[in-house]
């Protein structure tokens, strides 16, 4: 026994040594790479191409590390060296690791320049915690072209407390609302999909399906409630909203709004009619599309934008057509849907802003970031249409798009052969058409009432789904919801929202 234990110990120490040596090698080779990356920029500085000091910009965004990431990085660095004597380090972080890793980066004061952020990814709370630079001055000095590209509404929506902390991607600005319909049944029953459909017209459609196709579910999932809500209210928090079309900045409790009650009653009726799927409590869009594909369902609610139905058709391999139930609507969240912020830990915010300026104005740079290197990762079919090179497919590509919607000016990016060549024109029209909310640009600061909001989040989870799917009697459930909500401190939240909105409104004048 003595020998095995000693042997085990020796083995163990050997292993530890090997492992730690491996680790060191890894770090060493990384270091070497870094040096290599730095090298060209110093050379460029020596050649005197620019008066600017060489600088390495770090861009942090959610994506999987592509195989050819370093190739693209090198190519971008070459180009950036010419333009502004800078190089770039692309730091994609896996989606699943994003929350943890970026949180640790922020807390441990790690230096980096630009980071992806969004209203649905803690932009407002990170601003409260002081993660991002105030950008107005920087933009005036180093990002002069950006306001022209984005336009005043986008910038207004991106502000928090009057200050700009991140720059939004120029993409669709607003949300359309409606349903995706199974094309087979649309054709079969000659359903008209033009124009904006009223509730009554929708009900007519469902009635036809229910009568003629007993095995087909007219509408899957309770998502329609969310879509309808977003089309009719600019929700701030906890059901406190400003109704769409309102001319004054007055906060309304949706549960008190007769329109909302009427809607819930309608959903209850739909449920009684058997128009929803049996699993409406748990089903989501994914399941809905699968059922549509199997011809087991007719419709699913969805937020819309031009060409949404074509995208879903490609994605699920089954034909759907979209029908609108409301005109598009723009709220603060749409301006903050995808943004880049400059970190407080950036060593040179002015250079980061110069880079941002290029992302909004320089088509070559943004296409490189989005699609890689021409000839290797894509080939041009026409001026702004591209496709895979010979022999490359969606699976075998070595630089899959990190997310074109995450950076700069999406309107400058190439379109793929399977996309509508007029996509950007349609987007322009859509953006112009979308109705702006009266409180566009208002962001609620949760900090003063966070403990109440924590309780409310659980109360909402309890009641919302049941009402949305029409499974329960609306009046009774709303009464119960209100009672429990009051116990969770709803009045304090309401007072805080009203106070902040008033202050914001006063500052707008």
């Amino acid at each position: 026994m003595r020998i095995p234990i000693k042997l085990a110990m020796i083995l163990m120490f050997c292993c530890m040594l090997i492992v730690s040596a491996c680790g060191k090698n890894e770090a060493g080779s990384n270091g070497a790479e870094n040096n290599k990356e730095d090298a060209p920029s110093t050379n460029a500085a020596d050649s005197g191409a620019d008066k600017l000091e060489p600088y390495k910009i770090t861009l942090v965004y959610p994506a999987s590390a592509a195989k050819d990431l370093s190739l693209v990085q090198e190519e971008m660095s070459k180009y950036l060296t010419e333009k502004m004597n800078a190089t770039i380090e692309l730091r994609p972080i896996e989606w699943g690791a994003w929350d943890d890793k970026t949180n640790l980066m922020k807390i441990s004061n790690e230096p980096f320049d630009l980071m992806f952020t969004a209203s649905w990814y803690y932009y407002p709370s990170d601003v409260v915690k002081g993660q991002y630079h105030d950008l107005d001055e920087l933009m005036n000095e180093y990002g002069k072209d950006i306001p022209d590209v984005l336009g005043p509404d986008f910038l207004k929506g991106a502000r928090i407390g009057g200050k700009l902390y991140a720059l939004p991607t120029k993409k669709e600005f607003g949300q359309g609302f409606g349903l995706l319909l199974n094309k087979r049944f649309v054709d079969k029953y000659k359903i008209d999909t033009n124009g904006i459909k009223s509730m009554e017209e929708l009900e007519e459609m469902f009635q036809i399906i229910k009568q003629n196709e007993p095995d087909v579910v007219p509408i899957v999932s309770s998502k329609f409630t969310n879509v309808w809500g977003a089309a009719n209210y600019d929700g701030i928090t906890a059901g406190l909203s400003v109704p769409r079309g309102s001319t004054e900045m007055k906060v309304v409790d949706v549960l008190d709004d007769p329109k909302q009650l009427e809607f819930y009653k309608r959903m209850h009726q739909w449920n009684k009619n058997g128009w929803f799927d049996k699993d409406v409590m748990t089903s989501d869009s994914e399941q809905a599309m699968n059922m549509i594909k199997a011809d087991k369902a007719f419709a699913v609610a969805s937020s819309l934008k031009p060409g949404k139905d074509k995208e879903m058709t490609v994605q699920y391999g089954t034909e759907v057509v979209q029908v609108e139930t409301a005109e598009p609507f723009t709220v603060t969240g749409d301006a903050q849907g995808a943004m880049l912020g400059i970190s407080r830990t950036s060593k040179d915010p002015s250079r980061a802003m110069m880079f941002l300026n290029l992302l909004y104005t320089d088509a070559k740079l943004i296409n490189m970031l989005n699609w890689g290197i021409e000839g290797k990762h894509y080939v041009k079919k026409s001026d702004n249409v591209i496709d895979y090179p010979e022999g490359v497919t969606a699976e075998s590509q070595t630089y899959p798009n990190p997310g074109g919607w995450m950076f700069g000016n999406q309107f400058n990016t190439y379109l793929w052969a399977n996309e509508d060549p007029d996509k950007w024109k349609l987007f322009d029209e859509f953006n112009a058409r979308s109705e702006r909310s009266i409180i566009l640009g208002f962001t609620f600061n949760q900090e003063p009432v966070k403990s109440e909001l924590a309780s409310i989040a659980n109360v909402e989870a309890e009641f919302h789904d049941a009402l949305a799917s029409g499974a329960v009697d609306p009046e009774k459930t709303i009464a119960k919801w209100k009672e429990k909500r009051a116990a969770a401190g709803y009045d304090r939240i309401k007072a805080e929202v009203e106070k902040q909105l008033q202050e914001w409104a006063a500052a707008q004048k």
Binding site: C15, D100, N290
Partner: protein
């Protein structure tokens, strides 16, 4: 008498057969779904007998085979080293605590137990390892932080030591002039092989299934372990679905992806090697340590 015994055995085997079916059936279901045709799953739900078989999910996952092979290598290496060191440390700590007369016994036990109750949270824990023990972006990150010693295992092993080894045995050993360390080696370890095998097995499972350390400490895809690679693939699909409408390219990729079946295939790829290796492990743990003990 004999018939009663037979009846007992029959009853016991019936019980375990049911137990086995209960454990195994969900696994068979997972496997069957993973080799089903995507469209039949989305139309008819999960089924034990797939109507049409397709390996599309595995083709999708194993598209880049070198990546998975490397990840298996990382997992296996970290598991083997981790389990050895961890078992060694656990035993070393648990045995002294099982001796009633040990000075500071209660304080030490409480010191260990307290770590099960209170934790400073993920952030300071991460910072400690990044600043104090340079494990970031090394294999050590998947061996050392959080996993090298579990208070639960130490306390469990302690209670085994104190119940299965009579004090008289230790005292007799010391009377014979053996040092404490010799007693530990020659008497204690051989007597506690069953528990060492059990805790070794649990530690193996813990190391094999860990992906969180990899998520936090590893940036380079070359050092991803299998479970993280699988988890990551799954979350990436989910996020692609959520944001797919923003890229035609992503949509095309998603169209080709067997989403329902891939989830189950991921689970199979993650644990299958462990299942195949398990009987071997079991044998190794028990016979390997036993023979070592006999020779010593």
């Amino acid at each position: 008498m004999l018939t009663k015994q037979k009846l007992d055995q029959f009853g016991i085997h019936t019980f375990f057969t049911l137990f086995t079916i209960g454990s195994l059936l969900p696994f068979v279901l997972i496997f069957m779904v993973s080799i089903s045709d995507e469209s039949s799953i989305s139309a008819n739900g999960y089924s034990l007998l797939p109507t049409s078989i397709s390996f599309a999910a595995y083709r999708f996952l194993l598209y880049d085979f070198t990546e998975i092979a490397r990840a298996y290598g990382v997992t296996i290496l970290c598991t083997i080293i981790g389990v050895m060191v961890s078992l060694f440390n656990t035993t070393l700590l648990a045995y002294p605590l099982s001796r009633m007369e040990l000075p500071f016994r209660r304080s030490l036990s409480f010191y260990i137990f307290f770590t099960m109750l209170f934790s400073g949270g993920m952030v300071p824990w991460y910072l400690t390892f990044v600043n104090l023990v340079p494990v970031k972006n090394t294999l050590l990150a998947m061996i050392i932080p959080g996993m090298l010693l579990s208070a639960f295992n130490v306390l469990l092993m302690r209670s085994f030591f104190s119940h299965s080894i009579p004090d008289s045995v230790v005292e007799a050993g010391i009377m014979d002039g053996a040092s404490e360390f010799q007693v530990f080696q020659k008497i204690i370890v051989p007597l506690s092989l069953p528990i060492m095998a059990t805790i070794g097995l649990f530690t193996t499972l813990a190391y094999w299934n860990d992906w969180y350390n990899c998520l936090l400490f590893i940036d380079s895809p070359a050092l991803y372990n299998v479970q993280y690679l699988m988890t990551k693939t799954l979350t990436n699909i989910q996020f692609l679905l959520m944001r797919a409408d923003s890229s035609a390219q992503a949509g095309e990729l998603l169209a080709k992806m067997p989403r329902e079946t891939v989830r189950m295939a991921l689970a199979i790829v993650g644990i299958a090697p462990l299942l195949f290796a398990y009987p071997f492990f079991q044998k190794f743990y028990i016979s390997g340590i036993t023979s070592g003990a006999v020779k010593g």
